[in-house]
């Protein structure tokens, strides 16, 4: 098997946020390293870097090297392929098909929900090559990295605002209830923390309301003759009142 490749990544527990500088096989800041262990006689190899630099509860996947496909032309070597990132989470899987030219993938959601603290993932990357001139190997996902186990950082505070496309408040201990009752049985300690978050972000509530203009409103929607009639009636009534007042 020419395409068997093993990749293993290890993650630091508390990485610094935001900044990330990659070397060819590892991230300098968060020390995400890849361990490449193919036998020397293997012709192909791939590196998978998992990086936490983008945040505590999201991570960045980067494939720094991929296999060269034997049996195909060199012009097709540059990622004329599609790549699949496969995640295992609670016995469910989610697959992302990405274009072959893309070497990075940003992962902060799972099943349209933001990744939460304390979650476990298995990340596996597979890839395939475009068949060129009938000389490529058999179809299917012929290249695969080793499965990497990922554990997101546990929440330290009782409640925190998770920043994602679907922002929400995550609480450290689940707010549980008694069976068939609406009585809180656990996790009530998070309620003051949630209230504190709400009070902290109270200013953002003002942007919910639409803006109001207090300037004089123009009358472009009233036709000009209609305005003239109103003005004439007003003027005539004023003159009538003046006459009656003057005579009486």
């Amino acid at each position: 098997m020419l395409f068997r490749t093993q990749t293993q990544a290890k993650l630091s527990e508390y990485p610094p946020p935001d900044t990330c500088t990659y070397t060819r096989s590892s991230c300098v800041h968060c020390a995400a390293r890849t361990v490449l262990s193919p036998p020397a006689q293997r012709l192909t190899r791939a590196l998978l870097v998992l990086c936490w630099c983008s945040g505590r509860y999201r991570f960045k996947l980067e494939i720094t090297e991929t296999d060269a496909e034997p049996g195909s032309f060199r012009s097709s070597r540059r990622f004329n392929s599609s790549r699949r990132l496969q995640l295992d989470h609670l016995k469910t899987k989610e697959t992302f098909i990405l274009p072959g030219t893309q070497t990075r993938y940003f992962l902060d959601e799972y099943a349209n929900e933001p990744i939460i603290p304390g979650e476990d993932f298995n990340v596996n990357v597979k890839w395939r090559f475009k068949k060129v001139g009938g000389q490529a190997p058999s179809a299917g996902w012929i290249g695969s990295s080793k499965t990497v186990e990922v554990h997101t950082k546990d929440l330290e505070e009782p409640a925190a605002l998770l920043e994602s496309r679907v922002p929400r408040v995550h609480i450290q201990e689940i707010l549980s209830f008694k069976t068939n009752q609406a009585v809180i049985s656990g996790g009530a300690a998070a309620l003051p923390a949630i209230a504190h978050l709400m009070l902290e972000y109270v200013l953002y509530a003002e942007s919910l309301h639409a803006s109001a203009s207090f300037s004089l409103s123009p009358l472009p929607f009233l036709p000009f003759p209609f305005v003239c009639v109103i003005f004439f009636l007003f003027l005539s009534s004023f003159v009538q009142a003046f006459r009656h007042g003057a005579c009486g």
């Binding site: 070497t103 922002p167 919910l208």
Partner: protein, 97 residues
């Protein structure tokens, strides 16, 4: 920031009663937050029954489906800011090869 208080129940009930119970749970949590000083106009209680379980029915963690979650409602300035930041972050990383 406005918050949706979403109530959920575990499996094993009739759908109507599940919806009612989950709504009551959400309202109970909402009352507790109001007692902590949060304005009621910033909270929306809603019950989902067991439409959105976090754990499968036969999972050992199925009891944890009996829960309440909190989601920032769309329309607030905070939601817009976080949503746009997350989109920009994803585009920046996913578009660079």
């Amino acid at each position: 920031m406005e918050l949706a208080v979403e109530g959920h129940v575990n499996f094993g009930q009739k759908p109507a009663s599940a919806l009612k119970l989950s709504k009551e749970r959400a309202e109970r949590v909402m009352e507790a937050l109001v007692q902590q000083g949060v304005a009621p106009s910033r909270l929306r209680a809603k019950g989902y029954g067991y439409e959105r379980p976090r754990f499968p029915r036969k999972s050992p963690f199925a009891k944890k489906n009996r829960r309440v979650e909190f989601r920032v409602l769309p329309g607030s300035g905070l939601f817009t800011r976080l949503h746009e930041e997350a989109e920009a972050r994803r585009k920046r990383i996913n578009s660079s090869s």
